[in-house]
Symmetry: C2
Subunit: 252 residues, 2 copies
């Protein structure tokens, strides 16, 4: 039953390898497409169109969109369909506040609970992440970088925090994709490696300090601080550009 539809062999099979039910697959593919900016913020996600693309009925699409909406990467307006979320600067700040809070707790818990296997997996993920950035696959890099933080949350052994972290990481990735600054190395894997070192050494203070510095680093690369005008304008007008009618020059 999972085999009867596999028209989903896009790019490098970035969608999660877990061969779950169809809506998992659809969910993962839309998710990846959003993070890799193949779907721009504000883009309308028509149920029927997506259904045709993935070869499934609207029922499945609807479930996937519902999940994405719950994680905040898709906005689901009643009777008006789904669009790719375009977080405002204020929303981005709220997300970053929550993330600092959660990352601090996760780091402390991971120092306490992370097993050797988990640390090894984390190291592997950092390697994969570096490979992605090296080969220029920015979208996959952002996604893997997010998955690193999610894996860390799993090492903390607190299910509610994992769930929350998943939502925060998704939205953060969206924000990074949207508000990226000039610098290209986004989530420096060096910092990730140092972090694993501190956790492996069971040095909670240092690990937390590194994590907080890492957070600072991430949002210092974004154009959130004061400098929000240009990106904000883009977000503000993105929904107007959806209609197919051509706009006349605004300054005439």
């Amino acid at each position: 039953m999972n085999e009867q539809l596999q028209p989903l062999k896009k790019h490098t099979r970035t969608a999660k390898s877990r061969t779950g039910t169809q809506d998992d697959i659809v969910y993962a593919h839309i998710f990846d497409a959003i993070l890799e900016q193949r779907l721009a913020p504000g883009t309308k996600l028509s149920e029927e169109a997506l259904g045709e693309i993935f070869g499934v009925s609207r029922t499945i699409i609807r479930r996937a969109l519902s999940r994405l909406a719950h994680e905040g990467v898709v906005l689901l307006r009643p009777n008006r369909g789904a669009v790719v979320a375009s977080p405002s600067v204020d929303e981005a700040r709220q997300i970053f506040y929550a993330r600092r809070l959660v990352e601090r707790a996760i780091t402390e818990l991971a120092v306490e609970h992370a097993t050797a296997e988990q640390l090894a997996e984390l190291r592997q993920m950092v390697t994969d992440e570096r490979d992605c950035f090296d080969r220029g696959d920015r979208g996959a890099g952002i996604r893997l970088s997010g998955e690193f933080h999610l894996k860390l949350a799993e090492a903390a052994k607190n299910a509610p925090l994992v769930s929350f972290q998943r939502s925060l990481v998704s939205q953060t990735s969206l924000i990074i994709a949207q508000y990226e600054g000039g610098s290209r190395s986004h989530c420096s894997y060096d910092e990730h490696n140092e972090l694993i070192d501190a956790i492996e050494a069971r040095d909670a203070d240092k690990a937390v300090q590194l994590m907080m510095h890492h957070m600072d680093h991430i949002d210092s690369k974004l154009n959130l601080d004061e400098d929000t005008a240009s990106d904000d304008l883009h977000a503000v007008f993105s929904h107007l550009l959806l209609g197919k009618k051509k706009l006349r020059p605004a300054n005439s």
Copy 2:
């Protein structure tokens, strides 16, 4: 369209007064039923049965169950239907850990951002809550007490935290309903009032201190600490009791 089905005038109209779409109504009613323990942990939630009860199709029920599963009050097993969640002691501990974390942040933010109107609303909610407990409506009391904490989260003006808090409060209410200790005053409204006082005085340290004490108070009333044997057994066997066939006495 919202008016065409109203066979939902149960008890005291506790379901949220927002007259949203059908699945909101169904969601709220099942949610309330679980919190007020009219649905015991482990109870199977048949889609068709619920559909008949609420006079809607399985489609709506399915959406509602999906939401409830996302909040953690319902467990959704693939191909095997939904059951009312029965959090283990360990899961309860994880939830409480996360709640302390979030409540601390929310309190700090509320001190900073809460408006006079919001504080007034909070006071009103405490009054309502006291009325419920006074008139012996324990289920509604637990629910209102949870809604107080949710309202406080809204005053903190951080959307991701509100969303997370909603999930945590739901699960906490379920835990309280499941692991209640002997004492009857569950979420002492006095503590809620003191908390509002401190927030109104913009005294962050005192507010946080009160909130943490409040959290201590809540879980000191539960049978989580060491004393978990009896309740654990109940949780372990609860799903066996679902079948309608009568069990023979276990100790014979």
